[in-house]
Amino acid sequence: MSGADLPPKYRTGNVDMTHGGGGRAMAELIEGLFHRHLKNPILDQGHDAAVFDVPPGRLVMSTDAHVISPLFFPGGDIGSLSVHGTLNDIAMAGGRPLSLTAGFILEEGFPLADLERIVISMARAAREAGVPVVSGDTKVVEKGKGDGVFITTAGVGVLPDGVSISPSAARPGQAVLVSGSIGDHGVAILSKRENLEFETEILSDSAALHGLVAEMIAAVPGIAVLRDPTRGGLATALNEIAHASGVGVVLEEDDIPVAPDVDAACELLGLDPLYVANEGKLICICEAADSDLLLKVMRAHPLGARAARIGAVVDDADHMVVMRTGFGGSRVVDWLSGEQLPRIC
């Protein structure tokens, strides 16, 4: 079935159990919606699996399950996010992404028109990133056993020779950089949560970072650590690195970029921006001597315009992250405990 004769039901209908039953209704949905928008020569092979050539070398592979609510949020949606999330995990290992797969879990009753919006957004994100979705899978669950749409993407990439980036490679004396202001994604999401709604012009920072990373690696192949501070935010990502590398980290509060609206939303809700999620930012740890060059390269890239040096790696047997406050004191920056919930005290 070609896109042209897409039945009108895709504009007005809802997902029902037949779309996951393995029969023709499912085949129509896959051809009429997924393949139509995600079109590329590898996907068009029509296999359950995709076949493609890769340059020789080490492979990088990752996956992320996306369960975001709301599905559409300022600055993105689950479709674009599911592309960016996995590309970024590959980029954080230093990999150049080659291809993606996508597994959809649809809830019975989900509007097909919304599904199409999501797939279109996913296709655009993949196109802009230059990485095709080469294979996919669709399942439908009964109403009340899902939440609209879940998308799990996986991706592979190649690792350039000589690059060895790892969360356990941080060493005392190295510099800690961040590619831009933190907390935008989490605040954009919260602004649309039922019961919390507030108005803001903050958009999710959701973006694919592999282009930025490629330029950083080209300038400084010896980058030690890259990490995207997603769930748990900057604080948790740095604690993970400190834990994996067996080091401490000292941050300078005044050097950490935070957008005024993000700051304001956090004050209102009783949240700490250090723990709020990002989807288009990275932490980079490098030799102190390389930090100026890296900052220059990052700031020259649209996704690193507000890059900053925010601290240093130190020797610490307890692997703690500590911050000098702008107030002139200091505090521990611990892992996130549980979920970060809006609070009253």
């Binding site: 507030f198 803001t200 903050i202 004050e267 009253i344 005290c345």
Partner: protein
């Protein structure tokens, strides 16, 4: 206890609802606990309610006092330093 944040009233929506702004954030809050809220007022927001108006005059005075406390301390310090010198 009692996380509460001062925010500026940017519009009055009804008898007991107003919109407040904190930077670019706008949020609807209940003004059921206050009399005579006006656009431009700063109010203390707690669990979605405006709890009290904030006196801008007093705020400035407090900041002034803090600066002066410091000045006094610094002057004394300088004097002490001079005396010691």
């Amino acid at each position: 206890m009692c996380l509460a944040i001062p925010a500026r009233v940017v519009s009055i929506e009804s008898d007991d609802m107003a919109t407040v702004a904190l930077e670019g954030i706008r949020k609807a809050v209940s003004t059921a606990l206050l009399e005579d809220v006006a656009v431009g007022d700063y109010v203390l927001v707690h669990v979605g309610f405006a709890l009290h108006k904030l006196s801008e005059e007093e705020a400035e005075r407090t900041l002034q006092l803090m600066a002066e406390a410091g000045v006094l301390a610094e002057e004394l310090e300088e004097m002490a330093a001079e005396a010691g010198a």
